[in-house]
Each structure stands twice: as C-alpha cells, then as structure tokens.
Symmetry: D4
C-alpha cells in the first residue's frame, strides 16, 4: 500500500475477506492510487468503524470501499457516517453471496451505496469505479483509465481458442 | 404504550413500518409488558440509534426488538451496540422481504439477532418471544403465556369450516 | 458438557448436525453455562421430542436451541411444546440451507422461534443469544458477555493485512 | 362432506386455508370419496394434531392431506405420526409460497410427504392423487378417474381461441 | 431387483441418476417390494416412455416413481399417461435442484405428481411413500413399515454425541 | 389467423394463456406470417399434443412456439416430438413465472428449446425469433424485419419525457 | 430539467421507467445539479446509445445514471462506452426486479457499474451518489449534501407513532 | 473449426467459457456445419462486438450463438446488432448461473434471444437448435438431425443399471 496520503479507504468486515479484496488494492496500486486497507466490522467494532469512516472526509479521503459477507451491513454503515461516495462489495457466503448482495444493495432512499458484483470481479470493479470517480478531477488518471480499457480490449481480441 | 419503565424497546427504521409493528406493541400490551416504540434508522440516524440502544441496558430494558426492510441493518446495528437480547423483524419490501430477511438473519458469528418471520406474524412473534424471555424471571408472565397458548389452541379447535 | 443442572437444551435433528452444533456447545462452555445436547428428530422421534421439550420447563431449563436442515421443523415443533424461548439454527442442506432457513424462521403468528444464521455462525450466535437471555438475571454472565465483546473487538482491531 | 366413514382426512393449519382447500374437498366429493376436513395446527395445537393423525389408521382412513403456509410443518408432523400416505399442499404466503413449498417437500429421509403444487392446483391434485391411491383397491374409482381424465382432455380439445 | 411381478416402476431420465435412485430400489428391496428400474427419458425417448407408462396399469403396477433433473418433465409425463399414483424425485442439477424441484412439483390442476425432496432423501422417501400406498391393502407391509419406523426412531435415540 | 398454410404453430397449455400469447399471433400477423394457434396440454392431452407436433414437419410447419406455466413441460414435450426449431414462452404463475422459466429453459443436452422471457415480452419475442428463422430463406421477410427494427428504434428515439 | 450544461446524464430503457426515474431527476434538481434525461435502449437503439454515452465525456458530463428492467443491459452498455462513473438502477419487472438487479450488478471485472436498489429508492440514491461524486470537487455541493442528511435525520427523529 | 464459409458464429465473453462452448463447436462439427468461434466481450470490446455481429449477415452467417456469465449481456447485445436468429447460452457463475440465465433470457419485447440451459447442456443444445434452424432449408441436415435423435434414443434405451 502506498505511502502517500490515502485517497481511498478499503474496509472489510473480516480478515478472511482480504484474499478477495487484495484485488481491489492491487488494482488501485496499478493506477498509482494511494489507499489504506483496514479490517473493521459493522457489528464487532461499531464504534471504531463509525469513527474511522466519520473521519475519512477530514483525512481528504475521496472514496470509501467496503466489503462484507452474510448480513453485509458494513457498506451501509459506512454510508451512514459519511457523505463521501461509498462503494460496496458483497463477499461470497453460505447462500452464494445472495444475502451479502441484497444486504449491500437494497439501501433505503437517502443513504446510497454503489454496489458491485459478488466476489473478485466486484473487488476489481470497486477499485476501477473509485478510479473513475477520482479521474473526474484528475486528467492524468482518466488517461490511465482509457489506456487500461484499451489494453483490456486488446487482451480480449488476442485470445486464441485452441 | 404503558407508563411504567419500559422493559422492551421496539425500534423501526421508518414510520411506514408502524402499521406492522403496532402488532408487536399490541401483543406486549395484551401481556401488560411496558415498552417504548421509536422510529430510528440505522442509516439516516446512526448516531441517535447507537446512543439509544447503548443506553438501553442502563434504562433497565431487557429486550430490544428492531424492524426494518430492504437492506435491513437496524437489528444488526442494535445488536452491535448492546449485549441485551435483540430480536429482528424483517419488513416486506420490493423483493417480497427476502432482502429484509437475509439482511436481518445472516449475522456473522459473535453478534446474534434472533430473527422472526417476515411481516405481521414476525411482529407478533417478536413480542411473544420477548415475553418468553421476560417470563424466565417473572412467573406471573409465564402463567399468562401459558394461558395465551391455551386460548390460542382453543380458538383453532373451535374453527368451523362451512 | 457440564455436570451442573442444564440451563440450556441443545437439540439437533441428526447426528450429522453435531459438527456444526458443537460450536454452540463450545460457546456455552466458554461462558460456563451448563447445558445438555441431544439428537432428537421432529419427524423420526416425534413423541420423544415432544416429551423432552415439554419437560424442559420442569427441569428448570431456560432456553431451548434447536438445529435442523431441509424441511427443518425441529425448532418449530419445540416451540409448539414449550413456552420457554426457543432459538433455531438452520443447517446447510441441498438448497444451500435456504429451505432450512425458511422452514425455521417463517413461523405463524403465535409460536415464535428466534432464528439465527445458517450453519456455524448461527450455532455460535444461538449460544450467545442464549447467554444474553440468561444474563438478564445473571449479572456475572452479563459481565462475561461484555468482556467477550471487548475481546472480540480487540481481535478485529489487531488484524494485520499482509 | 359425506356422511360415510371418512376415507381421507384433510387438515389445514388455519381457517384461512379453507378457501383453497375447499377445492380438494370438492374434488373428493366429485368422486364420491368420503372425507373429513379439520383445522389443526402443527404449532398451536400440537397435541390434538398428533392425536388426530395417530388415530387416523384406527379410523380406517387411507390417505391424509395436510395444507399449511409459511414454515409449513403440518404435513411433516402428520407424516411423523402415521404410516398412512401423507400428501402436502403448500399454501401461498409472504414469500409467494416458496417457504411453504420448501418446508413441505424437503423432508429428511425416513418420513415421506408427497407434495403437490402451491395453492389451488395443489389442492385439486392432492385430492386426485388420493383418489389414485384409493383406486389401487377400488376398480370403480379407477374407472371414474379415467373418465375424469377423458372429460378433462375433451375440455382442453374443445377450447376455442377467439 | 426382485424376480416377482413388479409392483413399482422406477424410471429415471438418465443413467447418471442411478447412483441416487439406487437408494429407492434398495429401500423397496428392504421391504421385499418387487419393482423394476428403467432409464427412460421424457425428451429423448418420448414414445417409449409413454408406452411403458401407459402399460403399467396393465402390468399390475401400483405405483410409478420418476426421477429427473433440470427441466425435470419425466414425472409429469408419466402422470399424463397413467392414472396410477406417480411420485416424483427431483435430481440435483446446475441450479442446486431448484429447477428440478419446481419442474416436478408445480403440476397444473388435473394431473398430480406427489413430489419428494431433492436427491437421496427424496429417493428413499419415494420408496417409503410407495410402500405406504401398497400397505393400504397389504397388512403385512404396514406392519413392516411400523417396524421400520420404530427401528429408525431407536437409531436416533441411540445416537451418542462425543 | 391467416388462411394460408401455417408456417408457425403456436401451442399453449391452457386457454388462459391466450391473453398473453395473442401477442405472438398479432406479431406474426404484422409480418404476414401464416400460423395456427391451438390449446394443447402436455399433461391433459399428451397423445394429441404428441400427434399434432409429430405431424408439424409433414404439414410444412417451420417453427413451433409453445407456451405454458408452472411445471411448464409443453415446449419440452414438443421438442421431444419434432426436429423443427421449438421456441418456449414461460407463462407467469404462482412463483412469478420462475417455475415456468426453469421448467422451459433447463432442458437436458440433446433436445433444445429456445426460451424467451416470461410473459408478454416473451410472446412477442417468440414471434420475432420465428420470423428471424423464417427470414433465413425469405429475403422479403428479412427486409420487413429490418424495417420493424428501424421503426422500433425511431419510436424509442421519439419518446418525450414530460 | 435545468438549462445549464448537464453534469449528469440519466438514461432509461423505456418511457415507462420515467415514473420511477423522475425521482432521480427531482433529487438532482433539489441539489441544483444540471442534468439531461433520455430514453435510450441498449437493445432497440444500440447505436444511438453507444454514441450518446461515448460523447458524454466530451460534453463534460461527470456521471451517467442508467435505469432498465428485465435483462437490464443499459447500465453495462453505458459502462462499456465511457470511462465516466456509471450508476445503475434496476427497475421492477416480472421477477420482482431480481432479473434487473442481477443483470445490472453482476458485471465482469474490468467494467464497473455502481448499482443501487431496485425501484424508487434506487432512483433517489443514484442521484444522491452522483451528487456525492460531484461534491468531491464542489465544496458547495458537499455542504448541501450534509444539510440534506441533517434534515433527513431530523425528519426521522420527529416521526410520531400514534 | 471448418474451412468452409461459416454458417454459424459462436461468440463467448471470455476465454474461460471455451471449455463449455467447445461442446457447441464439437456438436456443429458432428453435423458438418461450418462455424467460427470468437472471444468478444459486450463490455470490454463493445465496438468490435457490434462490428462483428453487424457484419454477420453480410458474411452469410445464418445463426449467432453467444455465451456469457454474470451480467450476461453478450447475447442481447448481439441481438441488438443483427436480425439473424441469436441463441444465448448462460455460463455458470457466482450465483450458480441464475444471474447469467436471467440476464440472457429476460429480453424486452422487440429484441429476441432464444435462450438455452445453463452450462454444457445449453452449449450442446444451442448447436442443435442452430442445426434445426439451418435444416429448415437443408434436407440433408434434417436427415442427419433425425438420425442423431434416433441414435440418442437408442443410447438411452440401451442403458444398463447394474
């Protein structure tokens, strides 16, 4: 994780989510976006979670990414404590991640969580959406994002079926 | 709602849940159990919710009932802020209440929510389970509970099919 | 399992549930709560189940925990035979435990089952909710519960992501 | 309902199920099959249900039909108390009847419930399957069943689309 | 499989279902019920399936058991071609057997299929329900069924948790 | 319905499906494609269904469209009796059409059914897909199809939000 | 809709989505955020959709909101044609919006869509998340967002249960 | 893959789909149907996908098969860019392929996708349905299709259960 002042905070409800969420961190690193990763639980450490997220704006954080499984309240709890954009990544769980997905995405009107796909694809895409948000005021980052898309397209086009 | 010191707190995420949760309140009244009903949102009023629930033990509350719909985090957030028994009632929603149910029941190990059925049956049963819990130290209440069961059984046995 | 008079009864529909429900027993042991574990089936041994649960109150049991999978009727059948608080733990099954969950939680108004999450998390949490219920009249237990929460929070806060 | 000794018992968990289950009764009447209809709840009147079903064999009943909604345990509880063939009809409920269906059909090995479709189609078909079972030793009934099928087919073939 | 004239026909849509359906055959053997097992597909061999099932009554078959997975039409197709009681066993599939279950159980009014649980439990129970149906005119079989239940209960009661 | 020799056969399992399937017929009429609509049930009139579909090729029919609800076997049964392209339209039902959809689409390898959306959109699209298939050897029809697409696009582009 | 250069583009697949998506537009108006609303279909007007979205960056648009139902591809198609942040709102549909939700949220790694709740809550929240994104470089907007949250909280706290 | 001018185009959203979609290619080869297989993504290579599919008619392609997983938009995007018959194969994914299935089949009225089963059965059946479509103007192919069906039936009929 980068030394610079973190622009993105990645929270996860349990250390076991790290294997998946490392993909979000790796993606941000690929774009040179400084960020901080923390295990913080909506249920087991509610005060510390509230405090950490409430302080994000003051730390000049621009996007919060939160990942959790089961009754996945972490992203919603983050969104409740900040007006920064919050992105949610549902982790796979007992019910295939359907519980995590619904618990993350079905937020009531007033407190939004931008939800990504269940599991690794969601972790990567949360980072890419964070980059897209940052790129709104960072032309260099937008350029990198376009280049990423081009390379990604080229990779698809070069696939060989044998 | 009774004048006595509330033994049960009933929280709901939105005033629109009251039509259903009134059944919980009515059931508690039927047993003469003092209680307080409040609209408090896990997402829209996170601080007040945390404060209110954190203080429940100090107010000699014995059971907390929380009802919410959609990404129904209220019961989980309550459970995170108190060691009192917390009972959750999933409200019906866009996805038939499946989202509310999974968001309430699939809590991670460490922070339990005793979850009841979706909607009115769940509201009534949350009250009855609260009564059962209170009855553990209140022989009078247990007696009333047995009487309630007997009357309920009698009512079923007297049904006429025409 | 403790020698003292059991305060909690843990029932499971099949011996194969023991691997999961052992977590409930271990958790109760961790809190020094005496309990008894039994295999009793709502379908294969209906009379013995009814008898055992009907007698729980007389044995000074304070909470009944019931675990079953598939058409998981055990918790509901227990609740039908006692006015003690009954907690249900849905076991994983052919349909990911969705059948067990719905069969346990969707009880009709009148007979409540406080339902926990599918599988191991639910087993642990059933025990913790039982402890919370017992703690309502046992200050020592409530103190232990708070300590458990603190240790649990500390463990989360000390997680290192490498 | 016929005066003759009932060959089929139709149980339902709540009087509100009668509107649907009347279709089972009507179908049996159509075949001249004597039967008795009762409201009996697996949860609210467990003893009376167990007693009634346990006695079915002694009353020369040949098939038991049980209808319930939500955590629909009635058919399973019937099956637990008799070796007679038990047919289950899931009633529509909060979750579209998916809870009722899974609670009825996902019985553990050892105690079978022959489950029909959710709602009215299931009610009619439970009666028809009961007739098919009775027809195994009643050639007259089998003849009627064939005639019913022929009339039913003719009705389909005569449909006009305008 | 027994030499005697088969009283039950067990059909399955694919040879791969045999591993599960063998449990139905074994259970029938345990009760000394003669039966015949066949692979016949509703889709790949529609004529032979129709013919075989249409002829079942003439062969003095008393119950038809049909097992299939995915768009599991076999039991329904059997039911369409005979007035004998037809029992359906949904096989596990891509969607956990939910597709097989719904395709088997949700029959339209007029053509019933008594559906059992997904997979092995359903296979065993289809056989047991067939036995219960046969036992309606076979006191010896009913006696065996009661004995089976007693042994089954004893087995549960003797389980030791270590 | 057109007087010319039918190029498409539209079957539906029940007359109640006609309200939805009329949209398929109207769409074919819009393209001047001759077709025949029939109520034929996989379960209630299995022989007539098999006969009718088996004869389709001989009647120079080019596409079969089949609509059914619940355990929706009609399209699969049609596909089993012809090598013509068979398109399936799941009708809405008790379980929102999820049962109809899975029963239609989850066909085993070997017997394909091209499945369209649940309800009216599926009815229209089955007709359009049939037109696309016919258009493979009918340049005039392909031209009409392109014109339809253009008009459809124009209609979308002209929508005004007020 | 505002006269100023639109900062947000709201697309919807069908005019029938406007009743729900008007809530997104109203919310943006409430914050004084200029935006443009268009009906554009991923399927019926693919070229115009691609063109419009591809041009969004050049028009200095900062966020794209896309709403669709059923096989809801609109948000994904938008995300494929721009590197701007794309937010998706699943519309209710035949399958309660579960199809719309899964079609919107389950994007493959590489092309993110930040998905909101099904229906009206999702429409409001898409606008609020867009505001949060814009607020990253617009302190005035962030202030308004905080004020909105405070008023929203106050409204909850002032609810009276009668 | 055959040297002749391709009559069928098989697209898949990711190289990882090839293991499943190879079954479609093998099946077409078995019938001597020339075809081309390509990895093209609705999201990562939207322009190339649109171009390739738009050009299919000009290349005298007669059927397009598209396979994708998750938010499986590929078949829908193909259908949006051609009036040729488009067949969709949902790939298995995080949510068992339910997301892929709903994203493929629930197309809005106007743009049809003929959807096959999830996974390998769907891949084989997409090829067989393509063959059935081609066979409408190719008597030789229809003959082969009938032979395939006969061999397939024979194989089922020759299964031995041991």
């Amino acid at each position: 994780m980068a030394q610079a002042k973190p622009r993105v905070n990645i929270l996860m409800g349990s250390k076991s989510d790290w294997e998946v969420m490392k993909n979000a961190s790796d993606t941000l690193n690929q774009f040179g976006v400084s960020h901080e990763c923390r295990v913080l639980s909506a249920h087991r450490t509610p005060k510390e979670t509230a405090e950490y997220v409430s302080g994000a704006e003051g730390r000049d954080v621009e996007v919060v990414i939160a990942a959790a499984g089961g009754a996945a309240h972490l992203a919603g709890v983050c969104a409740a404590h900040t007006v920064l954009p919050v992105l949610g990544v549902p982790m796979e769980s007992k019910l295939m991640g359907l519980d995590s997905l619904l618990s993350t995405v079905q937020m009531p009107g007033g407190i939004p969580v931008g939800t990504l796909a269940v599991g690794k694809a969601g972790a990567v895409n949360a980072a890419l959406l964070a980059v897209a948000i940052l790129a709104n005021k960072d032309p260099e980052l937008r350029k990198k994002l376009k280049q990423f898309r081009e390379e990604q397209a080229a990779k698809v086009l070069n696939e060989k079926l044998s």
